[in-house]
Amino acid sequence: MTSGRAQGGAARRWVPVAWGAAGIVAVALLWELYKFVGPSEGVVIGQVEGEAGSGVLILPRTHDRAMPHIWTMIGRLFEPTSGGSTPPLFVSVAQAALLSLGIAAVGWLIGVAVGMLLGLVMQRWKLLEWGLLPWIVVSQIVPLIAFAPVVNAIGNQIDRGGTPWPQWLSVAVIASYLAFFPVAVGVLRGLEAPDRIHLDLMRSYAAGYWPTLLRLRLPASVPHLLPALRLAAANAVLGAVVAEVSIGMRGGIGRMLIQLAGQASSDPAAPWGPMFGSIVLGLIAAGSVALIGLGLKNYRRGEATA
């Protein structure tokens, strides 16, 4: 890279950041604009006079209980979590988010390991690809909310004698269930990415499976692997949050979300705290994976045909 290009790149790096910020501002403006112009009780069509709850609500209500102001949501972050001398909401959110992040990270690691293994064996043996790939796709159709308690129940039965199966491990396993899928598919596609000419070359060098894997297939798979790892990270967070709710684990952000949403009629701005928290959580998870990509820059070079 020339230094000129690097300088240009530094300036250009701010462009996506600016667009990202503009997007957030636009959503906030839209929220406030609709809240300002929309009718307080929303727009309902086909309502029968004198019959409560009839008709179809086609535009949401805009009163403060349904749509709190953006600044109310932000202000709520600095008020005590549940009144009295409890810590400010943002502290509780951060603690819950950290716990969920840790569990999601464990789930991500399990998912990546399993996904890579599946990708490797499917690439190695075509028969396994035919046999496994359809099931891997089907596995993602199973509704998580139904599946999570099953995992927890199985976990509880595994280790009755010794140390009990911790609840968080169930959550991590469920997170990994969502995380392994993009990795398995991405690794499979990545390992099959090398050109025919490269495979012919390795054959002409009489290189067997392992040298070809290490020197050609794995490095060539990096451009496919990185987006898969990022997807896996987002999926792991999603899986962890849903699993917490589903099996009723305390302390994580998913549980907090449900709890505060239940109190929304009296404290409408509160559920937005963990909601922002889970957004930040997803961004941190995906961002940490992007850091891996920086270390693998050389594997993402395209060969110029110039």
Partner: protein, 269 residues
């Protein structure tokens, strides 16, 4: 390589070699009854229209595909043995460099795969970079090189294990005319310096004549050898040769062999 390697002065010997590709519509004969001998140190070009099986023949020699019939030996060994013993180096139309490796690491790849020690490898890579004139570029990545330079890296890589046979499948096909002529000159020099036999697949008549000791003319449906023309142009292949009557004569001879009839020349009309 080893003392048990059978010695022969034939780099390639093909007797009655045929290749059939099975397709849904039935078997397609890509090559039939190929008889070819390439002596050690000899430069032989395979030329012919698309589908004449010249690349297929090269792939059979390289043991990237297997012959359906006939016998094919490389330095007196079966093709598979020769591949495992690294008796040949190969270069394709695309350079086929690994984009995540520097020039030096690309050239050294075959050595690395065969567990050549780091010091020895570095010395050999430096030597090869010098040979193809890329000493100043060894730390660059392929995407920072022109097409001609990439192709030179590929040639250096094919020479890494000091093969006595070079297999080249239209290595200059994707390059512009000037780079192409320059690299042709370089290749004859390198071939002479290393003493390696070369089997060179090409579309270009002038290229085949300029480079080769013998030009093997092939024809499609089914792929077969129709003619073999000795160029007899001697050891020195320089720019003056491109202007010489002997060269033009051979170009015409190859063209006539390709078209199967005598080409009417303007001055004979």
């Amino acid at each position: 390589m080893t003392a048990t390697t059978p010695t022969t002065d034939l780099a390639v010997q093909a007797t009655g070699v045929g290749k059939v590709f099975p397709t849904k519509a039935g078997d397609v004969a890509a090559l039939t009854e190929v008889e070819l001998e390439v002596k050690a140190g000899e430069f032989v070009s395979l030329i012919g229209p698309s589908g004449c099986g010249k690349s297929t023949l090269l792939r059979l020699i390289a043991d990237l595909d297997q012959a359906s019939s006939g016998e094919l030996t490389i330095f007196g060994k079966p093709a598979r043995r020769a591949r495992i013993d690294q008796d040949y180096g190969i270069a394709f139309q695309q350079a086929g460099l690994l984009p995540w490796r520097t020039v030096a690491a690309n050239i050294g790849l075959p050595l690395e795969l065969h567990k050549v020690g780091k010091a020895e490898r570095d010395a050999r890579v430096a030597e090869l970079a010098e040979l193809v004139g890329l000493t100043d570029f060894v730390d660059r990545y392929p995407d920072q090189l022109s097409g001609g330079m990439q192709q030179r890296v590929a040639i250096a890589r094919s020479l890494a294990a000091r093969p006595k046979l070079l297999l080249m499948d239209e290595p200059f096909g994707a390059l512009d005319e000037m780079t192409r002529e320059y690299l042709q000159g370089e290749l004859t020099r390198i071939a002479a310096e290393t003493g390696a036999a070369v089997v060179f697949v090409t579309h270009s008549i002038p290229e085949a004549v300029f480079l080769s000791d013998r030009v093997v003319v092939m024809s499609p449906r089914p792929g077969r050898i129709t003619d073999v023309i000795e160029t007899g142009l001697g050891e020195v292949r320089d720019e003056a040769l491109r202007e010489s009557p002997a060269y033009f004569e051979k170009v015409t001879a190859v063209r006539e062999a390709l078209h199967g009839t005598k080409v009417e020349r303007a001055n004979e009309r």
